[in-house]
């Protein structure tokens, strides 16, 4: 048994990559060791800006020898077969043994794999790990061909046991493994020689390197909060920043500095973002006023003046940064107070996507859509339109140009400065939400309407130009947009006909290209209803709503008979468009359902349950769909529920087989008069009772009552199958029983498509 220590010492590794790199090193090396037949007790990986380290304890000193026997072809078998066997076993002809087997003399190959020394295995595994390391971006340097995140300078690779320490001999692209490293770049730049992990960590600490990232982070946080506390202030928590800063230093030294009061007028978020993004400073605020008064910077060195020079420099840089921010803010305020018109105008020069037009055009679409949605969420349509109009104005502001992450938030400030209502200002910020699965969902009606319209416009637009997400590629964050719609609908308990609201903007995309062809002649006398009736005959499933939408949007408002000569040319075009629209809408709805499955899976609802509910009518009403799925999931978590499914499936199977065999559908009502006493009549009664509960409950969308009633059928159905032979000799009885099964099927399928439930 020995302990392994590995260190890969390089130029500065980007902070954001260090944590994963340490984990990757551990996995690559330990997996490789285990695969090669070594075992170990424990392993731990570490990272600093200049090094990745791995400690493996109690590693076996060699892998076991392996002896394997393989039976080959019979003696006298065709030459080809023997050679194939030799190749497969990797042995020479004269190494084969001939033994007596049941069928006669047979060749046997004995393959001996000797054990290998740990050092040999380690050298191979580590070289492999280094050469195939999954850095997000890696580079070459000098004249070498090796790729690493930044130039790799040295490698420690040592094995330590009671007898002492040995360097594992290895060489990667000219870098020989040894037992030496260096300490802190400035405070202890000399070479250190180490003998074990304990020795390594202790010597590094003496050489001003804290090996453990969590220890550095903890120290930074404790020091920062203590210093702030002493001043009566508090540090604004930011775990992401803390992790990053801990990755920028080997020897953290916390310094606390002043924010010039000249900048107190800036919004707190602007101060915070500017300090964080540009300078990696923590904000320190006054708990009484909320004002950010100071900052924390973390230096990587100790100086004779206790950081005075460093702090002065940082303060100066911050002053320049905040001067810029203040300049942007003041310029922006002037535009905002005057109503933001220049920003809105300039959005027509900003391309959203080259096939989907400018931001301005996009906003016009969002306005139209948000107006449609407004009544559903209980918002005033005019206010919603106003909110949609200004929601993206801040994209043209100087502050958002500088700090893209402040989009929306600045919009809120600026909308208020423009004298708009609180609801409109809030929507400017909230319409982007929710941005992820854990982000808060807006609840204010105006915000919800604009948020939905924004996301639906994005989705329908990209669907119309066929830029859908594929595999891991989702450059326009369409999955996130769909999840956003789902969460907005569900968490606000909205009843929204998604199909209709997808068709509306999709129609725009799909028909607008055709507009010149079907733009109506104003003089035409044929009424829309006539056209509709005409098309309906040709294409039965034309949804009147869809037609009216198309019509109302002026794409097919009137028919230019003179141009097309007769109805049929027009009908041909209109048919095609409506079919196309239906297909794209169906595809987009399927995408929503897919996202919904994902979302509900995280909440413990199985995908087959959701499938069973999606198959039902009205599945584009997500709230209803989820209510049904939850009720079904609850039911299937009960004993009755699980058994009912079995009963249903049995009934359904027997029935389907009989229907196929007989070539008829058994959907006549079963008659009690043909039933035998006992389980059969009991089932009749139970079905009557259940139906009396289920039908009104389903009508009232009270799924749990309906499903509980359905699950209650479990006993009678089980009893029926135990006591009654469906395929009775008497045909009347048999048909009646099949019709009875049909009732079970009908009742169950009215609740959800239980045929899709697995198991």
């Amino acid at each position: 048994m020995s302990d392994l220590l590995i260190e890969l010492f390089s130029e500065e590794i980007p902070a954001r990559m260090q944590g994963k790199a340490a984990a990757d090193l551990q996995k690559l090396v330990t997996d490789g060791l285990v695969e090669a037949g070594l075992t170990y007790k424990s392993a731990a990986a570490f990272s600093t800006p200049r090094r990745l380290a791995l400690s493996v304890e109690d590693l076996t000193s060699e892998s076991k020898a392996v002896r394997e026997e393989r039976k080959g072809p019979k003696v006298g078998a065709p030459e080809q077969a023997i050679e194939g066997f030799l190749r497969g076993a990797g042995v020479a002809r004269d190494a084969l043994e001939i033994r007596d087997d049941k069928k006669g003399q047979t060749y046997f190959a004995v393959i001996e794999k000797p054990g290998r020394l740990a050092a040999d295995i380690i050298a191979e595994v580590l070289e492999n790990a280094i050469r195939n390391f999954p850095w997000p971006k890696s580079m070459r340097w000098g004249t070498g061909s090796l790729k690493w995140v930044r130039p790799l300078h040295s490698i420690i690779c040592i094995l330590t046991d009671e007898a002492g320490t040995e360097v594992v001999p290895m060489d990667v692209d000219g870098i020989k493994a040894g037992k030496q490293t260096r300490g802190h770049r400035f405070l202890s730049p000399d070479v250190i020689s180490v003998n074990s992990f304990e020795d390594y960590e202790a010597k590094l600490k003496r050489a001003h390197v804290m090996l453990r990232a969590d220890e550095r982070a903890e120290m930074i946080w404790n020091d920062a909060t203590n210093q702030a506390f002493a001043l009566g202030l508090e540090v604004v928590e930011d775990q992401g920043l803390l992790g990053e800063v801990a990755g920028l230093v080997e020897w953290p030294v916390v310094l606390i500095g002043q924010v010039d009061p000249a900048f107190y007028g800036l919004p707190a978020e602007v101060l915070k973002t500017s300090m964080k993004e540009h300078q990696k400073f923590f904000s320190v605020r006054n708990p009484k006023s909320g004002q950010i008064e100071r900052f924390v910077t973390v230096a990587n060195t100790v100086t004779a003046d206790h950081g005075a020079t460093i702090l002065k420099g940082n303060q100066k840089v911050l002053f320049a940064r905040l001067s810029d921010a203040k300049f942007f803010w003041e310029n922006d305020l002037r535009v905002a107070k005057a109503g933001m018109d220049p920003w809105l105008d300039s959005l027509s020069n900003v391309t959203f996507h080259n096939k989907l037009g400018s931001q301005k055009e996009r906003i016009d679409r969002i306005i139209a859509l948000a107006r449609e949605i407004a009544p559903i969420v209980g918002a005033d349509a005019d206010e919603v339109a106003e909110a949609a109009r200004v929601a993206k104005a801040d994209l043209s502001s100087e502050m958002v140009y500088e700090f893209a992450e402040l989009q929306g938030l600045m919009g809120r400030y600026y909308a208020k400065e423009a004298g708009l209502s609180d609801a409109v200002a809030a929507a400017a910020q909230e319409h982007y939400s929710p941005l992820g699965p854990s982000d808060d969902v807006p609840t204010a009606p105006v915000s919800v309407a604009v948020a939905l319209a924004d996301k639906i416009d994005t989705l329908t637009g990209f669907w119309a130009i066929d830029e859908k997400p594929t595999g891991s590629k989702d450059p326009f964050a369409l999955r996130r947009a769909a999840l956003g719609v789902i969460r907005l609908v569900l968490e606000n308990d909205l009843t929204i006909d998604l199909r209709k609201h997808l068709s509306f903007p999709l129609g725009h995309w799909l028909h607008s290209n055709q507009a010149p062809i079907i733009v109506a002649a104003k003089t035409d006398e044929i009424a829309l209803t006539e056209i509709y009736e005409f098309i309906s005959e040709k294409v039965p499933p034309v949804d009147p709503d869809a037609f009216n939408r198309v019509a109302a949007n002026n794409w097919v408002s009137r028919l230019e008979v003179t141009k097309y000569g007769d109805m049929s040319a027009f009908v041909g075009i209109a048919e095609q468009l409506l079919i196309e629209e239906d297909m794209v809408v169906a595809d987009l709805l399927a995408f929503f359902h897919d996202r919904l499955k994902n979302y509900l899976k995280d909440q413990g609802i199985r995908h087959d349950i959701i499938d069973a509910c999606i198959a039902m009518d009205g599945s584009d009403d997500l709230t209803l769909l989820v209510k049904r799925a939850r009720a079904l999931s609850d039911t299937l978590n009960t004993d009755d529920g699980v058994n009912l499914i079995q009963g249903f499936k049995r009934a359904n199977n027997i029935l389907t087989q009989a229907e196929e065999k007989d070539g008829v559908e058994y959907s006549y009502g079963a008659e009690l008069q043909h039933a035998e006493a006992g389980a059969e009549t009991a089932l009749f009664e139970a079905l009557d009772k259940a139906e009396a509960v289920i039908t009104p409950a389903m009508a009232a969308e009270d799924f749990s009552v309906a499903m509980t009633a359905m699950a209650g059928l479990r006993g009678p159905i089980d009893a029926f199958f135990t006591d009654v032979q469906v395929n009775a000799e008497q045909q009347v009885v048999r048909r009646n029983r099949l019709n009875l099964l049909s009732r079970i099927r009908k009742i169950c399928l009215s609740v959800a498509d239980l045929t899709r439930i697995e198991g």
């Binding site: 130029e11 500065e12 980007p14 902070a15 954001r16 800006p49 971006k137 890696s138 580079m139 070459r140 340097w141 000098g142 004249t143 995140v149 930044r150 130039p151 300078h153 400035f186 920028l248 230093v249 300078q279 400073f281 910077t297 230096a299 990587n300 060195t301 100086t303 004779a304 003046d305 950081g307 020079t309 460093i310 702090l311 002065k312 420099g313 940082n314 100066k316 840089v317 911050l318 320049a320 001067s323 020069n349 900003v350 391309t351 080259n354």
Partner: protein, 306 residues
Amino acid sequence: MTDKPRSFQEIILRLQNYWAAKGCAILQPYDMEVGAGTFHPATTLRALGDKPWAAAYVQPSRRPTDGRYGENPNRLQHYYQYQVIIKPSPPDLQELYLGSLKAIGIDASVHDIRFVEDDWESPTLGAWGLGWEVWCDGMEVSQFTYFQQVGGHDCRPVSGELTYGLERLAMYVLECDHVMDMPFNDPDAPIALKYGDVFLQTEQEYARWNFDVADTDVLLQHFKDAEAECQRILDMPSDDPKTGRRIIMAHPAYDQCIKASHVFNLLDARGVISVTERQAYIGRVRALAKACADAFVQTPAGGFAA
């Protein structure tokens, strides 16, 4: 503690001496308008091919959109970069760099010097590299890059590139709050000049011209002309009929690429380039840069062996 330089020019002189002592050829600025020191053919073109190279130089750089009429404490439309390029990148490039900071009075024992991730990419040059921005007490004082690709070509060997923003660095060393107040020459000289004495007026003049006056029709034509000339030069046969020699005109063609790039920057400052057009223009300059790089690697300096 190192003795401190007292003027802007002394910082430049010290950098020149330092890198000369480290073996770099001290070149002079390129005689064209460029956006950054990287555009100097001593960097862009010389980073290509396998011939060793070591050069350092000051490069006046122009970024028309950064003009602030000389009012902003550190934003200028015309400023200086100090550029070092060494191929292949030496293993102690970081130490060499830190030595240069020490030479201009930034001593790592009192300052906090950090290498912070910054991947460099120049879409106009079709170039990228990995490296850092170097922070001194929270201020970015240099860019440090290992070139991986230039003009669409892999860099083999890899060049190490250092770029110092001279004004910002000098303001820090000289403790000036406004660039215009910074001593340009020795403050005790009989005629002591501040940065503003040299450049305040020009900043105002150029800011006005860049933002409001430059004739955009003329500039648009210049762009087209430079683009066409670049392509025309590269389309010429490599054998010169007059001398009978193989002369590929990579540098003259690259001059036209530089010109197109600068004209694009001016048009951008005039606000006549929309977001979508922007990408298209950048793509056009990149196509020129790639064509020039393709040509350069066919020349002796680019490692072409006849």
